[in-house]
Symmetry: C2
Subunit: 227 residues, 2 copies
């Protein structure tokens, strides 16, 4: 186990002072040793906030002319479960996860659900923040997200709603339809949107603004149609 | 203007190297000088993430036995608009805001909507982070939220659903009723709950888990009944 942890530390290029933090970040609540909250979830709570700030800081500097809505949308794309799962794969994290029998499977190198691996990425970031502070965690996230951060500008120059509309029109499917739900003051994010093409529900999105929710829904619909 | 800014710096106990950052944090998009994105919103985006991390770090240390769901709920209470507006009042921020005529009013010491002041609090936090880095912003938030952080433990030891139920039964109004909405995978938070007492909608809540959404809705209903 110590060897395996050392390997992972080499992959992520960070050596823990407190190895137990790393072990906890890799332990799912289904694992045998997870009693009394000794599993990844609290570190995941912390890592999610660390990741949010590092990405926000980066986007704020890199795109001085973008408005807050665009920055939020880019951040959402960089921290969504799919992006975290990409990181888990790059780190080879599945080999180090400690899950109970109920969550084991032959798929995905041993685990049933990609979201466990995605959550563990956040937990590892949280563990590095606990162990080495802001600078260490900041460096880890920037190193790890480097490739995705480089690409994010290209993604952003296109508006997902226009792109989807062009696509559906080229197929003569007519216009995408959006349904918008106001979840009410006090809900965050406040708006939720559904996107249908030809009556079929293809995407859902949430956001603090109507437009952001619709753009997220359009993005999801476009991903579906593309595949 | 320089004098006024200096006063505010004294209130928040932080001196800016770059005074323009503070000016921008106080400038609403309705202001005359707000062209080309030269207003608070981008700093607000950054400050929101800074605030989230400082509060998460604090709660993670202060409550080693609480689960992630409880920590999320406490964080949501500490960073919601009402809490930010309390901070704006404590800082006397309304006197320094730069808003256009459309947003001016005789209420709230010159502004129409408390959310402008709440957003400016986040922008000021973002500006301190830009100007002085993580340590300076961390200190500012901890200093400012001190009172609310002290109280948060008391709030949390009581379960809002039980408390509400006891109250409605004591009034012989019967049990509160909850409606739950699953917003679907990909929405964050995923669940939304409505709470009704005697058929009247009194609270709404959101959360990553059903229970959290219901507790938030119960909390809101209880606040309404209490007043």
């Amino acid at each position: 186990m110590a060897d395996a942890l050392h390997q992972l530390e080499t992959h992520i290029d960070y050596q823990f002072s407190d190895k137990q933090l790393l072990q906890r970040a890799l332990r799912h609540r289904s694992a045998n040793q997870a009693a009394n909250g000794n599993h990844m979830e609290r570190l995941e709570f912390l890592g999610d906030a660390v990741l949010g700030l590092v990405i926000s800081k980066y986007l704020h500097h890199r795109f001085p002319d973008k408005q807050e809505g665009d920055l939020s949308r880019m951040r959402a794309a960089l921290v969504r479960k799919e992006s975290l799962f990409e990181v888990a794969q790059a780190w080879g994290l599945m080999a180090y996860l400690n899950v109970g029998d109920s969550e084991r499977s032959d798929k995905l190198r041993g685990i049933k659900s990609p979201s466990i691996a995605a959550n563990a990425v956040e937990a590892v970031i949280g563990a590095v923040f606990e162990d080495g502070g802001w600078d260490a965690a900041h460096q880890l996230v920037k190193r790890t997200w480097q490739g995705m951060l480089k690409g994010i500008g290209d993604v952003d120059t296109r508006d997902a709603k226009s792109r989807l509309q062009e696509f559906t029109q080229s197929k003569e499917w007519g216009l995408p339809k959006y349904e918008l739900f106001d979840l009410g003051v006090g809900c965050s994010p406040r708006f939720r949107a559904k996107c249908r093409v030809n009556g079929e529900l293809l995407g859902e999105g949430c956001g603090e603004r109507k437009k952001i929710a619709e753009i997220e829904a359009a993005e999801q619909a476009w991903q579906q149609l593309k595949n």
